[in-house]
Amino acid sequence: MFTTGLLLGALLSVAVLWLLSGLFAPVPAVWREGVIVAAAVLAVLRDLGVLTVRLPQNARQIPQDVLKRDLVRGTLQFGFEMGTGVRTYVSASAPYALVVAVLLAGGGWAPALAAGLGFGLGRALTPALRLASGAAEEWDARLTVRLTAMKTVAAGAMAVAFAVLWAAGLS
Protein backbone atom coordinates (compact mmCIF):
# COMPACT_ATOMS: atom_id res chain seq x y z
CA MET A 1 0.00 0.00 0.00
CA PHE A 2 2.85 2.36 0.91
CA THR A 3 4.64 1.77 -2.42
CA THR A 4 1.34 2.07 -4.32
CA GLY A 5 0.82 5.42 -2.62
CA LEU A 6 4.36 6.52 -3.46
CA LEU A 7 3.86 5.62 -7.12
CA LEU A 8 0.44 7.32 -7.35
CA GLY A 9 1.78 10.47 -5.69
CA ALA A 10 4.82 10.59 -7.95
CA LEU A 11 2.67 10.03 -11.05
CA LEU A 12 0.38 12.89 -10.05
CA SER A 13 3.37 15.23 -9.69
CA VAL A 14 4.94 14.29 -13.02
CA ALA A 15 1.55 14.54 -14.74
CA VAL A 16 1.26 18.14 -13.53
CA LEU A 17 4.86 18.85 -14.57
CA TRP A 18 4.30 17.28 -17.98
CA LEU A 19 1.18 19.42 -18.54
CA LEU A 20 3.14 22.54 -17.56
CA SER A 21 6.03 21.51 -19.81
CA GLY A 22 3.95 22.61 -22.80
CA LEU A 23 4.50 26.21 -21.72
CA PHE A 24 8.22 25.81 -22.44
CA ALA A 25 7.77 24.22 -25.86
CA PRO A 26 8.47 27.53 -27.71
CA VAL A 27 11.92 27.75 -26.08
CA PRO A 28 14.59 26.38 -28.46
CA ALA A 29 15.60 22.82 -27.60
CA VAL A 30 19.27 23.71 -27.25
CA TRP A 31 18.45 26.23 -24.51
CA ARG A 32 16.15 23.83 -22.68
CA GLU A 33 18.75 21.07 -22.80
CA GLY A 34 21.46 23.40 -21.55
CA VAL A 35 19.31 24.49 -18.61
CA ILE A 36 18.55 20.86 -17.71
CA VAL A 37 22.26 20.01 -17.47
CA ALA A 38 23.05 23.31 -15.69
CA ALA A 39 20.31 22.65 -13.11
CA ALA A 40 21.80 19.23 -12.35
CA VAL A 41 25.28 20.77 -11.97
CA LEU A 42 23.86 23.42 -9.62
CA ALA A 43 22.22 20.59 -7.65
CA VAL A 44 25.67 19.02 -7.17
CA LEU A 45 27.14 22.31 -5.98
CA ARG A 46 24.23 22.88 -3.60
CA ASP A 47 24.53 19.42 -2.06
CA LEU A 48 28.29 19.95 -1.69
CA GLY A 49 27.55 23.15 0.24
CA VAL A 50 29.34 25.32 -2.32
CA LEU A 51 26.07 26.99 -3.24
CA THR A 52 23.56 28.07 -0.61
CA VAL A 53 20.28 28.57 -2.37
CA ARG A 54 16.96 28.19 -0.61
CA LEU A 55 14.57 26.24 -2.77
CA PRO A 56 10.83 25.86 -2.20
CA GLN A 57 9.84 22.99 0.03
CA ASN A 58 7.00 22.06 2.32
CA ALA A 59 9.02 22.16 5.53
CA ARG A 60 6.95 19.74 7.55
CA GLN A 61 6.67 16.07 8.27
CA ILE A 62 3.60 14.17 7.21
CA PRO A 63 1.49 13.92 10.40
CA GLN A 64 1.57 10.46 11.98
CA ASP A 65 -2.18 10.85 12.54
CA VAL A 66 -2.87 9.67 9.00
CA LEU A 67 -1.72 6.20 10.04
CA LYS A 68 -3.88 6.12 13.17
CA ARG A 69 -7.26 6.68 11.54
CA ASP A 70 -7.19 3.68 9.20
CA LEU A 71 -4.01 1.67 8.73
CA VAL A 72 -4.55 0.67 5.09
CA ARG A 73 -5.90 4.01 3.88
CA GLY A 74 -3.46 5.83 6.10
CA THR A 75 -0.49 3.92 4.68
CA LEU A 76 -1.71 4.67 1.17
CA GLN A 77 -2.13 8.36 2.03
CA PHE A 78 1.26 8.51 3.76
CA GLY A 79 2.92 7.01 0.68
CA PHE A 80 0.94 9.26 -1.65
CA GLU A 81 1.96 12.41 0.20
CA MET A 82 5.61 11.33 0.24
CA GLY A 83 5.43 10.32 -3.43
CA THR A 84 4.25 13.73 -4.57
CA GLY A 85 7.48 15.21 -3.26
CA VAL A 86 5.66 18.39 -2.23
CA ARG A 87 4.08 17.37 1.07
CA THR A 88 7.21 17.00 3.17
CA TYR A 89 10.84 18.09 3.44
CA VAL A 90 13.01 17.93 0.32
CA SER A 91 16.41 17.17 1.79
CA ALA A 92 18.34 16.75 -1.48
CA SER A 93 18.77 18.80 -4.65
CA ALA A 94 18.39 15.95 -7.16
CA PRO A 95 14.56 16.09 -7.11
CA TYR A 96 14.70 19.78 -8.13
CA ALA A 97 16.97 18.85 -11.05
CA LEU A 98 14.47 16.17 -12.05
CA VAL A 99 11.62 18.71 -11.94
CA VAL A 100 13.57 21.03 -14.26
CA ALA A 101 14.34 18.11 -16.60
CA VAL A 102 10.71 16.96 -16.83
CA LEU A 103 9.51 20.55 -17.30
CA LEU A 104 11.99 21.34 -20.06
CA ALA A 105 12.56 18.03 -21.86
CA GLY A 106 9.55 18.41 -24.12
CA GLY A 107 8.29 15.54 -26.24
CA GLY A 108 5.76 12.93 -25.27
CA TRP A 109 4.49 11.75 -21.91
CA ALA A 110 6.63 8.59 -21.71
CA PRO A 111 9.76 10.23 -20.23
CA ALA A 112 7.68 11.95 -17.55
CA LEU A 113 5.90 8.69 -16.74
CA ALA A 114 9.22 6.84 -16.50
CA ALA A 115 10.67 9.58 -14.27
CA GLY A 116 7.63 9.41 -11.99
CA LEU A 117 7.74 5.63 -11.67
CA GLY A 118 11.48 5.79 -11.01
CA PHE A 119 10.99 8.49 -8.36
CA GLY A 120 8.32 6.49 -6.55
CA LEU A 121 10.39 3.30 -6.63
CA GLY A 122 13.48 5.21 -5.53
CA ARG A 123 11.60 6.46 -2.49
CA ALA A 124 10.30 2.96 -1.80
CA LEU A 125 13.85 1.61 -1.83
CA THR A 126 14.75 3.38 1.42
CA PRO A 127 12.38 1.53 3.78
CA ALA A 128 12.83 -1.71 1.82
CA LEU A 129 16.61 -1.64 2.18
CA ARG A 130 16.41 -0.55 5.82
CA LEU A 131 14.19 -3.54 6.53
CA ALA A 132 16.41 -5.87 4.49
CA SER A 133 19.46 -4.85 6.52
CA GLY A 134 17.99 -6.52 9.60
CA ALA A 135 19.63 -3.80 11.69
CA ALA A 136 17.60 -0.63 11.27
CA GLU A 137 19.53 1.47 13.78
CA GLU A 138 22.90 0.62 12.25
CA TRP A 139 21.44 1.27 8.80
CA ASP A 140 20.28 4.73 9.97
CA ALA A 141 23.77 5.44 11.35
CA ARG A 142 25.38 4.48 8.03
CA LEU A 143 22.86 6.63 6.16
CA THR A 144 23.66 9.65 8.34
CA VAL A 145 27.39 9.27 7.62
CA ARG A 146 26.95 8.78 3.86
CA LEU A 147 23.97 10.98 3.06
CA THR A 148 25.84 14.04 1.79
CA ALA A 149 28.01 11.91 -0.49
CA MET A 150 24.95 9.96 -1.67
CA LYS A 151 23.02 13.13 -2.54
CA THR A 152 26.02 14.61 -4.36
CA VAL A 153 26.71 11.45 -6.37
CA ALA A 154 23.02 11.16 -7.26
CA ALA A 155 22.90 14.72 -8.61
CA GLY A 156 26.28 14.28 -10.30
CA ALA A 157 25.17 11.12 -12.07
CA MET A 158 22.05 12.94 -13.24
CA ALA A 159 24.18 15.78 -14.63
CA VAL A 160 26.45 13.36 -16.50
CA ALA A 161 23.52 11.28 -17.79
CA PHE A 162 21.64 14.34 -19.06
CA ALA A 163 24.80 15.73 -20.66
CA VAL A 164 25.52 12.40 -22.39
CA LEU A 165 21.93 12.05 -23.47
CA TRP A 166 21.76 15.35 -25.23
CA ALA A 167 25.35 15.47 -26.46
CA ALA A 168 24.57 12.25 -28.28
CA GLY A 169 21.45 13.84 -29.73
CA LEU A 170 19.32 11.02 -28.43
CA SER A 171 16.51 13.05 -26.93
Binding site: A10, Q61, I62, M82, G85, T88, Y89, V90, S91, A92, A94, P95, A97, L98, A101, A110, P111, A112, A114, A115, G116, L117, G118, F119, G120, L121, G122, R123, L125, T126, L129, R130, A132, S133, G134, A135, E138, W139, R142, L143, T144, R146, L147, A149, M150, K151, V153, A154, A155, G156, A157, M158, V160, A161, F162, V164, L165, A168, L170, S171
Partner: protein, 52 residues
Protein backbone atom coordinates in the same frame (compact mmCIF):
# COMPACT_ATOMS: atom_id res chain seq x y z
CA UNK B 1 35.32 -13.84 9.35
CA UNK B 2 32.14 -12.03 8.28
CA UNK B 3 29.00 -13.23 10.01
CA UNK B 4 25.73 -13.56 8.00
CA UNK B 5 24.30 -10.59 9.90
CA UNK B 6 27.30 -8.42 8.98
CA UNK B 7 27.09 -9.55 5.36
CA UNK B 8 23.40 -8.67 5.33
CA UNK B 9 24.10 -5.17 6.62
CA UNK B 10 26.83 -4.66 4.03
CA UNK B 11 24.62 -5.97 1.22
CA UNK B 12 21.89 -3.54 2.26
CA UNK B 13 24.27 -0.60 2.61
CA UNK B 14 22.44 2.70 2.02
CA UNK B 15 25.10 3.86 -0.47
CA UNK B 16 24.82 0.78 -2.68
CA UNK B 17 21.69 1.84 -4.65
CA UNK B 18 23.28 5.22 -5.41
CA UNK B 19 26.37 3.54 -6.85
CA UNK B 20 24.30 1.10 -8.93
CA UNK B 21 21.86 3.77 -10.14
CA UNK B 22 24.66 6.24 -10.92
CA UNK B 23 26.37 3.72 -13.21
CA UNK B 24 22.99 2.73 -14.67
CA UNK B 25 22.17 6.38 -15.41
CA UNK B 26 25.30 6.90 -17.49
CA UNK B 27 25.10 3.51 -19.22
CA UNK B 28 21.41 3.99 -20.02
CA UNK B 29 22.11 7.48 -21.39
CA UNK B 30 24.57 5.89 -23.80
CA UNK B 31 22.69 2.75 -24.77
CA UNK B 32 19.05 3.00 -23.67
CA UNK B 33 17.99 6.68 -23.50
CA UNK B 34 14.38 5.92 -22.65
CA UNK B 35 15.51 4.14 -19.50
CA UNK B 36 17.52 7.18 -18.37
CA UNK B 37 14.36 8.89 -17.18
CA UNK B 38 13.39 6.02 -14.92
CA UNK B 39 16.92 5.71 -13.52
CA UNK B 40 17.35 9.44 -12.88
CA UNK B 41 13.89 9.42 -11.28
CA UNK B 42 15.10 6.62 -9.04
CA UNK B 43 18.21 8.59 -8.11
CA UNK B 44 16.11 11.64 -7.25
CA UNK B 45 13.69 9.58 -5.17
CA UNK B 46 16.40 7.67 -3.34
CA UNK B 47 18.35 10.89 -2.68
CA UNK B 48 15.49 11.81 -0.33
CA UNK B 49 16.37 8.92 1.97
CA UNK B 50 16.98 11.35 4.80
CA UNK B 51 13.51 12.86 4.49
CA UNK B 52 10.31 11.42 5.97
Amino acid sequence: MTTPAEARIRFADPALPVAVLAVAAVVSALYAPALTWAVTGGLAGYALSGSV
